[in-house]
Symmetry: C2
């Protein structure tokens, strides 16, 4: 079985200062990753929830530029509280509230292990379509610009949005690039045949399964030529959901995509797919075995256990450093020997 050379827990919720006094940091995970000059940047997803009160369930949302807390009676039969991530209408099953609100915060490091974490949110949810938070950023450098793709969450659904930056100080919002329900958008670094390319993961309600698709764009803002890549039908047995993980990186064999797959019990693992360098609609290989599975205690236990979920990696000399969220709680890194992985993808 494939294993990383090492896996190391790097950042946990107690390392962060909440953005408001009435909130606590529950989770710091699913970080976008890139290099900027000599530094490795993590754009951390920070999920905050109301500080606990006995017998009450706190929920949180954005309104008028700040996080608003609302308290629900846990005994109220109208609410289904079985999922720690949200409150559902007990009758219709519709999500009424989320229990946490996510913003994005920057952490910087020179060695990739020790991170200096900002005390303030760099990117806060803005506007009606982000009223339930911004989540799971991916970062890809296309020419001289970093494209940050993330999920805008609101009662209208989970919607992919993008912003651009050159310095991680000034960000330009480019709007919603795809309709709901869709997540896990990764841009390819650089254009292919003069087009931006992305992976995305729609979740159809009726016909279809949560699979990985790709799309093309002249400019990163307007997207078309949607094409289903792979997922439930082609994927590993018992896996019911697939999604892109890190933005693909280029190797001789093709574009290497580290994706995630989840089974019915929401256990998430990471795998490798290889796409054609000139035409990423062509799947050259899906490696048969996962490369990372929840095994360590910090991956198995947490806010939502048995999850390893990546939004980014860095290539460092002869190693691949995959940053990943563990148990929807913390941020870790799995370091792979590049030659070992190459045996799989070649």
């Amino acid at each position: 079985m494939i294993q990383p050379k090492r896996r190391e827990l790097l950042i946990t919720p107690k390392d962060l200062i909440p953005s408001q006094v009435d909130l606590q940091v529950d989770c710091v995970f699913n970080a976008g990753v890139c290099t900027l000059g000599e530094e490795i940047i993590l754009l951390l997803r920070v999920a905050e929830s109301p500080k606990k009160q006995a017998g009450k369930r706190g929920v949180v949302m954005m309104a008028e530029g700040r996080s608003i807390v609302k308290w629900l009676d846990e005994a109220d039969p109208l609410y289904d509280l079985s999922d720690p991530r949200g409150v559902k209408d007990a009758g219709t099953g519709k999500t009424l509230y989320l229990t946490s609100l996510s913003h994005l915060r920057i952490a910087r490091s020179r060695d990739g292990i020790h991170f200096q974490i900002d005390t303030h949110p760099e990117l806060f949810p803005t506007g009606e379509m982000e009223s339930w938070g911004i989540e799971d950023p991916r970062i890809a450098k296309v020419e001289d610009t970093y494209w940050v793709s993330y999920t805008a969450v609101s009662p209208a659904g989970s919607v992919p949005a993008v912003m651009t930056t050159k310095d991680f100080k000034i960000f330009e919002r480019k709007g919603l690039i795809l309709p709901p329900e869709n997540k896990d958008v990764c841009f390819f670094p650089n254009k292919i045949k003069n087009q931006c390319v992305c992976l995305h993961r729609p979740v159809p309600k009726g016909i279809g399964t949560p699979d990985i698709w790709c799309a093309f764009s002249p400019d990163g803002v307007y997207w078309g030529e949607h094409h289903r890549l792979f997922g439930v039908r082609e994927g590993w047995q018992n896996m019911k959901r697939f999604g892109a993980g890190a933005p693909p990186f280029e190797a001789e064999a093709g574009w290497i995509e580290i994706f995630h797959a989840a089974d019915d019990s929401n256990r998430y693992v990471l795998g490798i797919a290889v796409l054609d360098r000139k035409d990423p609609r062509k799947i050259l290989k899906i490696v048969e075995e996962p490369i990372l599975q929840p095994e360590a205690e910090f991956e198995k236990q947490g806010f939502y256990g048995n999850v390893v979920f990546t939004c980014g990696l860095v290539e460092r000399a002869d190693e691949i450093w995959i940053y990943y969220g563990c148990a929807d709680t913390s941020t870790a890194v799995a370091v792979f020997d590049r030659e070992e992985l190459k045996k799989l993808w070649s």
Copy 2:
């Protein structure tokens, strides 16, 4: 209550010749509509199913350029046959097959009532993403080109696709413009601020409801700037699904959109929304009452009863002719006095 001046049944399945000897025409409905020279063109959705066999359920799909029929044993406990439109896995609820396959066929008329219907399909499903059919076309003329937006259906989902034509003889396929699950794409006639604009209707599985959204495009092929317009939250009580109907037409008051709404029992009605002429993201009005509801026998009884569903209309002097599918079976027209409707939308 609002009523059309008259409603008239125009085309029924018996008016059509099947495309293959082993198929029967079940439904001719949900036609795209436009004018071409002196003629009114209907681009009919024609749904065909295998001729009945006792104890068997016939299903049909595209393969290698033709319709392939497969027979399922109605007694097989693996199948859920409760919905006449498809066969589901009795365990997972997943749609396994559709019972009919739709193509698009042209009908022409000078008076808008008497149509000459082609004996051959004009547009047949093509490729993997259309293997379960092409459905519900809308036609909008943008500059000198007709844009036909339709739903490509396959095991991968319901996906909006477009093709263009100038003469309804030569069609150019432009690919899938949005990911699944999405239907009811209508282009606006002509550009607004040099952009193509469309309405679309995503169906999120988790958070969100089946609402009407709009999007923008420089060229009709690549789309972005998605914006939720209205739907379940703003809409009429008890209505659980909304979707654009006919492509919007321009009036002094704004863009007039005839949309559909459906309740929990899948009863479909038509309504009017008014969008700002310069910025169609602004909703000026949603008329409180439906303008068309299933009342006639041919609207209440059929393959799927209690449905009125429009994909297009024509403006004729002082009248608005709304062509619509009735009971998912036939094609009718509802003729409205323009001044009467204007009272509603002004």
